[in-house]
């Protein structure tokens, strides 16, 4: 890794999350929060926020297929053995630190993308389809959006908990993209 002269990287940290991934992460967080907050009213804002959620998830899927190695979603999905070993260590209170995602965190990120994207798609179908399918999608939309919110809360709680366990600031790492090696 080369260091630009006069703009040395902060000592003892490495670049982990690329700029596109971080931008998509925080825009998805913002669009999802806006959509959730306007779910019961401000229907036009709710629809546009929902469309933005779907577009951002779409971009993240593309970036996750074509982007750099650390952004690859296929690398986020752990094998069952790897996941089981990590969850076992977590249950014993000694989860090993990972510079990238730990296996549970990577799987959860993909789950968040699927749930938030699914909430957007079912929401759109509930309006666009009409008839019995539209009504079924309306019910599905409320369930999936609720699950997505629950998954977001677990995600935030886990980020805070793992920051404390490993004595690092994972939220800042998702802003500046850097972590200690």
């Amino acid at each position: 890794m080369t260091t630009e002269p006069g703009k040395a990287a902060p000592s003892r940290t490495v670049k982990v999350w690329d700029g596109v991934s971080r931008l998509l992460h925080w825009s998805l967080a913002g669009a999802f929060a806006l959509a959730y907050a306007t779910g019961e009213e401000a229907f036009t804002v709710h629809e546009i926020a929902g469309i933005a959620v779907v577009a951002i998830v779409g971009l993240r899927f593309l970036w996750g297929a074509l982007g750099p190695e650390r952004a690859r979603l296929s690398a986020f999905v752990p094998g069952p053995v790897e996941l089981g070993r990590y969850l076992g260590a977590l249950a014993r209170g000694r989860p090993p630190r990972h510079v990238g995602h730990n296996p549970a965190g990577g799987l959860w990120a993909v789950l968040l993308l699927l749930l938030s994207g699914g909430a957007g798609v079912t929401g759109w179908l509930s309006i666009a389809a009409g008839g019995p399918l539209g009504r079924a999608m309306h019910e599905a939309h409320e369930v999936v959006a609720g699950l997505a919110l629950a998954a977001v809360l677990v995600h935030v709680a886990a980020a805070v908990a793992m920051s404390l366990v490993h004595r690092e600031n994972l939220i800042r790492a998702m802003i500046d993209g850097r972590k200690r090696p």
Partner: protein
């Protein structure tokens, strides 16, 4: 390229195309099905030919439900929280134009 990469790439393209279509339709009238009358202007406000909230509550009473705890207009339907003749809590879904009872949810 791993199989999963291909799956994510295809899903990404589909979602981007879908969101583009949705954005183009947004604000315009949603496609109507044959024989369907839509009681929604797309912004959560009942259209002119829909029942009023009061008429929807009265309709629930005529169907043998009540008293009504909460009634709400959403997507061409009234969702009415009430109790049935045995006192059990139910949620009724009434078509906002025809008053047809579309569905009964039992809140257990």
């Amino acid at each position: 390229m791993r199989v999963l990469d291909t799956v994510f790439a295809a899903g990404g393209v589909a979602l981007l195309v879908g969101s583009g279509v949705a954005l183009a339709q947004q604000g315009g009238a949603a496609p109507m099905q044959d024989g369907e009358r839509r009681a929604d202007d797309g912004r959560g406000i009942a259209a002119a030919d829909a029942m009023t909230l009061g008429e929807a509550v009265a309709r629930a009473g005529a169907l043998g439900y009540g008293p009504v705890r909460e009634a709400e207009y959403e997507h061409g339907r009234y969702e009415i929280e009430t109790v049935d003749a045995t006192g059990r809590r139910v949620e009724l879904y009434l078509d906002a134009v025809t008053g047809e009872l579309l569905k009964i949810d039992h809140d257990d």
